[in-house]
Symmetry: D2
Subunit: 421 residues, 4 copies
Amino acid sequence: MNKKKIINDPVYGFVTIPSAFIFDLIQHPYLQRLRFIKQVSMTHLVYPGALHTRFQHVIGAMHLMSLAMDTLRHKNIPISSEEEEAVLIAILLHDIGHGPFSHSLEHTLIEGVSHEMLSSLLMDKLNEEFDGKLSLAITIFNDQYPRKFFHQLVSSQLDMDRMDYLNRDSFFTGVSEGVISFDRIITMLNVEGEELVVEAKGIYSVEKFLIARRLMYWQVYLHKTVISAEQMLIKILFRAKELAVQGTKLFTTSALNHFLTDKINHLNFLDDPLHLEWFTRLDDTDILSALKEWVYAEDKILRTLCQKLINRDLLRTELRNTPFLEAEVELVQNKVKAHFNLTDHEVDFFVYTQVVQNSAYDIQHNNIKIINNRGYVQDITEASDVSNLEALAKRVVKFAISYPKEIGHPLDGGNNFSKNN
Amino acid sequence: MNKKKIINDPVYGFVTIPSAFIFDLIQHPYLQRLRFIKQVSMTHLVYPGALHTRFQHVIGAMHLMSLAMDTLRHKNIPISSEEEEAVLIAILLHDIGHGPFSHSLEHTLIEGVSHEMLSSLLMDKLNEEFDGKLSLAITIFNDQYPRKFFHQLVSSQLDMDRMDYLNRDSFFTGVSEGVISFDRIITMLNVEGEELVVEAKGIYSVEKFLIARRLMYWQVYLHKTVISAEQMLIKILFRAKELAVQGTKLFTTSALNHFLTDKINHLNFLDDPLHLEWFTRLDDTDILSALKEWVYAEDKILRTLCQKLINRDLLRTELRNTPFLEAEVELVQNKVKAHFNLTDHEVDFFVYTQVVQNSAYDIQHNNIKIINNRGYVQDITEASDVSNLEALAKRVVKFAISYPKEIGHPLDGGNNFSKNN
Amino acid sequence: MNKKKIINDPVYGFVTIPSAFIFDLIQHPYLQRLRFIKQVSMTHLVYPGALHTRFQHVIGAMHLMSLAMDTLRHKNIPISSEEEEAVLIAILLHDIGHGPFSHSLEHTLIEGVSHEMLSSLLMDKLNEEFDGKLSLAITIFNDQYPRKFFHQLVSSQLDMDRMDYLNRDSFFTGVSEGVISFDRIITMLNVEGEELVVEAKGIYSVEKFLIARRLMYWQVYLHKTVISAEQMLIKILFRAKELAVQGTKLFTTSALNHFLTDKINHLNFLDDPLHLEWFTRLDDTDILSALKEWVYAEDKILRTLCQKLINRDLLRTELRNTPFLEAEVELVQNKVKAHFNLTDHEVDFFVYTQVVQNSAYDIQHNNIKIINNRGYVQDITEASDVSNLEALAKRVVKFAISYPKEIGHPLDGGNNFSKNN
Amino acid sequence: MNKKKIINDPVYGFVTIPSAFIFDLIQHPYLQRLRFIKQVSMTHLVYPGALHTRFQHVIGAMHLMSLAMDTLRHKNIPISSEEEEAVLIAILLHDIGHGPFSHSLEHTLIEGVSHEMLSSLLMDKLNEEFDGKLSLAITIFNDQYPRKFFHQLVSSQLDMDRMDYLNRDSFFTGVSEGVISFDRIITMLNVEGEELVVEAKGIYSVEKFLIARRLMYWQVYLHKTVISAEQMLIKILFRAKELAVQGTKLFTTSALNHFLTDKINHLNFLDDPLHLEWFTRLDDTDILSALKEWVYAEDKILRTLCQKLINRDLLRTELRNTPFLEAEVELVQNKVKAHFNLTDHEVDFFVYTQVVQNSAYDIQHNNIKIINNRGYVQDITEASDVSNLEALAKRVVKFAISYPKEIGHPLDGGNNFSKNN
């Protein structure tokens, strides 16, 4: 009798761990760390269920990948067991370089150090630890493997990463507009000339996938309250670092302390392995415990921002289709300066503008390919005559301004509908 | 203790029958007849689960209507209990005039007698039977009630009819692309100036509803195999009537016999109540039992068409974006005439062209209205700056030709992709 | 590129047809006939969604079987491709001998001819037509294959047949109490000594499966209104045959006519292949079209029963824990005789008693086996110390009496609770 | 136009906040704190999705309560708007006294201070803050309101608390055995003599609810790995307090520090409001940040336990039906002492026994009442003749022992099946 380890996933049900080696990888502290890093950082302040972690996501993406392998094998695409294990590992590790609240961190504590670079460093380190057993996975991950479809399943406009995160974020936020028929799309995958293609029958499912992605952007990822909370966190970390560099003593865990007091750039990471080691000790807990203590900090800026974030008294954020004029921003800044008695430097922690943009389908790169009944391959935009793909490729840009609610609605002159949308 | 009758609906769970009078209406043979009329006629030949009936649909639509009433009342829209019962009855009866395989029937046995007219006649008859207790429901149904939103909930671009049939057809076909968030949309409904509006937050759900409708059209309602089967049924009934009028004796139930042997138009329905009575005895069983027997009919045309339909050897149907040229149709007809040894008159039963079209959103009439936080109302196309509504309003037209598979692919010259799509 | 035929199933999503030969089998008229035979006959009169067919069921059971094959292969159980195709065919054909409203038919028109015998005859006929390609499937079906687990997957207390019908009946009735975690159970299957076993972790899922089955019996299969409708159909067919044998002319389709006018037993089926041929032309349509016409029959008994069944004015059925006494039955019969002016012979068509019984788990035969982490196999009743299996094995017996509502509640003396349950 | 605040809940979809006052309560820091307290503490180490919080739970339970209010009103049970708001508040606040990892905390840092007592203190404080507007809610909560059914909906064997947590824990763990038909049960609720009753038709749904609860106990709440993790946390907090009291300096947040260094009992809470204030600053973050740092603590016991818990190298736990003998425990202790070089005092942090027990239905207290069609009320055990309720009432007791994996399987003499179950 041969048994397999199983993980219960609320999204897909039972997920089988495909091999003993992959089980060992999952048990490694680098992957266990992802249990404590939420997938969509501050989104749970808007959608209370969105507490799911990057750990769940990578397990889920691996599961979808194994479904894709089954489908392709049933269609007689030759796939060796080495290739299968490698592509499963590649997707399992694709997010390993993410830190807590990744987006915020990359703008503050580890400025200029991308999660892609950290992933790469960590994969190499694991490959060393495991005697080169990850080499093929890394080759696929870096798109250096000749059979392109393996990389395309890891990273493209129709990869298992997106397929899982849309599903999962939709499931845990409860935003049903993001639900996709992943099983239908996967069933329709095929390979032609070593490239990933979708069978013609699946064209509607792909279209719905692209639309679901667009709806998730505007309802979740770029929701004005979500971007407000994330911007507040950036400002808090920025202020804390400012204070720490000046020598102010702040409550932190040791790992957070390492990144708060030192200015660490990507060269430092390459030079000194200590930085990477400290990085692997960081998770959401380090940030959250600091935020909670800083509610009682001496510094007014830090204290006020933390109070507002922890008590969910978030900055008001307005979205509109045209940029905010300098005069408008100044008007808001002046109101805030007066109300909170702030200097020019300090007001920047309370008033900020952002540009927010998204298109559902990138018509330039790596287009999704459709194959018809007779093996003829076309770009999806040409293959579908009932589709809206051109509309989906259009980049939508919005402009945001955030400021404390205490000053009311200073810009509220007309009846600009989209502000309230 | 006060108890309510309950119906188990696989789509919504428990559906409570709202009142004793509505329970009596449901028990009436006119409504019980809908138990034996499938909602999407021949679609189950493509999607085997699609056996659901108009009975289930009207019960479901009534359920959604009562959710809508609850929502509006919670928002302090005054609704009297008479109005509530009337709008529930209006939606319950909206399909009462449908015959078996409605679309096919209206083109053959009861040519020119619309199901709307029959609904109206049957509602009047019921109103008589029930001493005028349906008067307000009929007023709402006919859009003669001053509070417009009641009629809009029964019939508009966002009515409970569409909401239920999309949901239900999606559920029973298993085409998940048609799933809509009916509960989210209903929660977002409101009334402004006695007209139905949707709150701004619901704009994404409405957009997804329109897209789901479009996908259902192309994947289900206008699926080429579905339209092929329906067209075959039209031809069969047409042939049977042709034979019956000539005096050929065919197996039929008595109700089908009535409509097969007589030419009955809408004036006859108005003149002689007997026609309506016979009509209320017709359901899917009458048509299906005849089709099964006609597999052994003497007439070659009738026999062959019935054999093909019952054994699911359906005519091949090709769809494309440009009309079929006369020369192309002739080419096909000649092949079929030769292969089956048919006359010019007879070949029309085996070769036919159709124009198939759909737009998801009708930009001209009864547009969906959005209301923002401050009570400002706009058409959805103006209110949404991230939306694809213009693309959805575009009418998509396709052209179809059908013929027996025995003659191969006579038109298959080039690599016209959409043929195979 | 290699493509597979796909069927959309609302219960499982996409179902892939596993091979070209199986596709041909599905296209055979014997299997297409199952499209017109409802899985749970008259149950839709109580649960309007329950219109699903035996066709859907056998496709679904085949799908579960292919999931089971995948699971076992992943656990390194050697399974040849011949064995896989054979077990898929065995489950696909397991219900092929069912007629319309099987249970009723077996008690009337083809008395004493079991659907198992008809299945066997039809499988042999198919095997002949397909040059012996079904031989291994038939061997497995008849439990003559040495590797027992194949047969156990087709027919045992945990087979794919039960797994699908519980799922499916639950889905289409909307009785969520019957929902089972089929994927969890299948994932837990394994083979030990060529027998089917369940891994210890799956013990709760199996227990829930047995409980779900029990709840489905009492809420659906043995629901008092369902058994009332089925008993009425038996009486109708019995009466129609009585009349037909006496020479009364009744509306029927030709296939129904064959079985109504002749007394056909299982020996006739073996002697004359014509009977089997007529049998394969029978489906629900034949019965339903007759019922509809007989509403207007001359014979009062036949007419009244058909009116009541078609208009859903079903006989009242009472269930209780103790048998109905002769005196009670006589009391009811006398009331009915008086009210409807019936003879002793005639009253039997309107008053009848039944014994209704069920146990969820048959503790005597083919018990479910559990295997623990170290390969030790035990009967589930011994393996589970938290379970209720003894309670589930208890046979529950109830007694039913049915009679027309017109006579009120003649037996309503006491406050016997279970009557109303 | 009147709008309502809405929360997206992945379990139920949209949840409407019923009133402005309830919205203010939800915004209060006491309730916002529940956003950072997981509902099922360490369970996510076994079921990675189980990160849902007490905040989500109380919102969900409030939603079910408002469905229950709607149902009862539809059945003409008079309910004033004051009563409705009060019962909604009562359920919203029922868990307000829970601390992080409640169970563990109550055994260590705030020994002997129950969450019920803390809830009561916090409700009184809120009532003060809100000028007595919670008085009726508190009366209902304390079962001092004459209309018993309100309290029964808050707390009984069929209350909205259980209904939500089973649903929710099932949803987030992915253990589908726990799914219940809450909507069916709620639809079947009624009131007789001011007591909560279930209509007879709902008996199967109630039975399934009790079974689901039992399965959740054994698959989730009492899962051996879950109880192992929770016991480890208790030992860690116990050790940390031991060290802190001795004057060892440990990393902590300020709130945790308060409870680690002082011995605080329930009298202290009543005497000095400061304790309650510190308590309201405690959440999961305080505990987790400490655990992470203590991985590097000087004390070997503390360090080792934290390393094991954070790296998910949990103690092995064995479950069986008979108590572990003194000799067995000693055997294990001796192995552990030898392997880790521990004293008698120290070994208690690594080896422990527990008694684990559960019954699904408490046959003694507050039995569930069933009402039949004619208003006759019975206890569910008498009303159901097909049920297993006696089996469900049976108390199941198991015995657990936990110890580090490093020492192997010291007790592994025989083939005791239940150990591995």
